[in-house]
């Protein structure tokens, strides 16, 4: 599903000095695989996930989804590629504060041209699976972190994306809620999705097809 090769990325310090973060990352994730990436804070895990999900351009390297090269596309084509192929789970949930839980989930269908009624129906099924259906009309600020992340997970999988990218999905959760999210991610992989999880938690490696360590800007097995 996902193939990345030779990814290079550096940021610029305020002084203009380049900060190299990725120095040539190669990664292949097949359908149904769950890949865990570990590494200490600041090693570039979030940057790698942003680049893999087309949220940020690499300085060099190539990314293909289902053998389609997406890294060379235009900005709007990248947007459409994300809508078609990728689901994101973020450490800080990133639910829209002005929308209810259900509306946040259904938002994932707005930009992919999916039927709204069908999306609402599926969203409720997902919320039920994650045990937060009774919270569907609540606003994010009325929900606990665990509840927010379950809702964010539903949003990420509403369109059934073949690629799921999770950046420290349990970083702001307690163990019980963290286990729920990891479990849900593993189930997505079993259902055929390619899943990449970045985390420093040992549970992330449980059930993972492969575990990589990001160090010095490259992935080590």
């Amino acid at each position: 599903m996902l193939r990345a090769s030779g990814l290079v990325k550096s940021y610029r310090a305020p002084s203009g000095e380049p900060i190299p973060v990725l120095r040539g990352v190669d990664l292949t994730v097949k359908d149904g695989e769950l890949v865990a990436v570990v590494g200490h804070s600041g090693s570039g895990k979030s940057t790698l996930l942003s680049v893999l999900g087309l949220l940020e351009d690499a300085d060099a390297g190539e990314i293909t989804y289902e053998n389609v090269c997406v890294s060379v596309r235009s900005r709007s084509a990248k947007s459409r590629a994300r809508g078609r192929w990728v689901g994101f789970v973020f450490q800080s949930f990133l639910l829209l504060p002005s929308l209810t839980a259900l509306e946040n989930v259904v938002l994932a269908a707005r930009y992919t041209g999916r039927d709204r009624t069908e999306a609402r129906r599926r969203a409720q099924v997902l919320l039920d699976e994650l045990g937060v259906l009774e919270r569907k009309d609540h606003y994010p600020q009325e929900l606990s972190g665990g509840e927010q992340q379950r809702i964010a997970f539903c949003r990420a999988v509403l369109n059934d994306p073949p690629l799921l990218l999770a950046d420290e999905p349990t970083g702001n959760l307690d163990d019980a809620n963290g286990a729920v999210i990891f479990d849900a991610l593993r189930r997505r992989a079993r259902a055929g999705a390619a899943v990449v999880v970045v985390s420093h938690r040992p549970e992330a490696a449980m059930g993972a097809t492969a575990v990589y360590r990001l160090r010095g800007g490259v992935l080590e097995a």
């Binding site: 949220l55 947007s79 459409r80 809508g83 990728v86 973020f90 829209l96």
Partner: protein
Amino acid sequence: MLRILRGYAFAIAGIAIGVAGLVTLGAMSERIVRFIEGGDRFVLGQISVAGRGMGMGAGFTAGGLLPAATIKKISAVSGVAGVQPQVMLPLDPSTSQFMTLTQELVLGLDLSVPMPNRYYRALPVRVGRYLRAGDRHRAVVGAAFAASHGLGVGSGLALEGATYEVVGILERMLTAPDRFVFVPIEDAREQWVAKDRLLRTLLASGAAALTAGDLNTGVAVGWRDGADPDAVARRIMAEVPDVNVQLPSELSRLLRASTAFFAALLVGIGVLALVIGGLSLANTMAAAIFERIRDFGVKQALGATDLDLAREVLGEALVVTVCGGAAGVGLAILLGSSIDVWAGRSGQQLFHFSTRLLGGAFAFSVLLGAAAAAWATLRVASLSPAEAIRRGA
């Protein structure tokens, strides 16, 4: 829709305040513009002729008496279409010797001839009726005069010892006639004689062969269709001795010169209002969008293109500025009308909410709001989604 309004409550309030400031300042300008334009229209609509060198009139007028024989000569000048004898007196000569646009005046009109003013064939009456030929001791008063003296139709008004019945009140014209009392010329002549000791002495002495018909302070002269008013005025000057003739164009120029300061002031106020109101509006709108920069990043992660977001933002900006603009206009009218209720007790009006002002302010705010939103969206679109998410965190 309601959701949008709630999310943007602060922006709407901010825009409403900016627009309200713009509209109230604009309404004050409009009020003054009306005043100036009204005066201009009036003086451009007639040729005003006063007497000269008679040494009488005791300071009420710049000139002097305009006797009946002179009026007859004026009527005979070619191009003249109508001549209405008038007596203009200050209501209270002790307060001011100067005739200004804002002074309260008694204007006696010869009702047996129609008003010759091109732009004021009749003065618009709000309640009651206008004066008719044959009326005596009846008065029609301007709106500001009625308000400041607490007059209504049927009220009594004491002028020089006589009581006048108010039969009509004029529409507010936002110019000089608002402070006038209109009476039949016969009544005005009576008042003149009562006010003016010199004139009384002169009449009693019989030194001058004066009759009531000679007691005029001036005439309003109309011209035939197609005639050039300045040319007619020049002919009167040339053919009729002992008169002061005002060229309409010159009077208009004088009036404009005397109001030039105000005109400049108004332009200044207008520009300030536009800049301050506009800046606050644009700033509020852009801030409201930047505040949600993280939401845009998230939406892009979900597949939204820049065009999707631009469409959403413009739609919301439109709703927000339309609501903010409408609220601002409402607020301004509320504020202005409240102040005018208070000012109205002394016959003043400070604001004029013209449709061109309201429409203009509204269109201006919606356009500017949309422009600010478009600019903010472009700024957001220059960021990668990852950066948008980071910035908003």
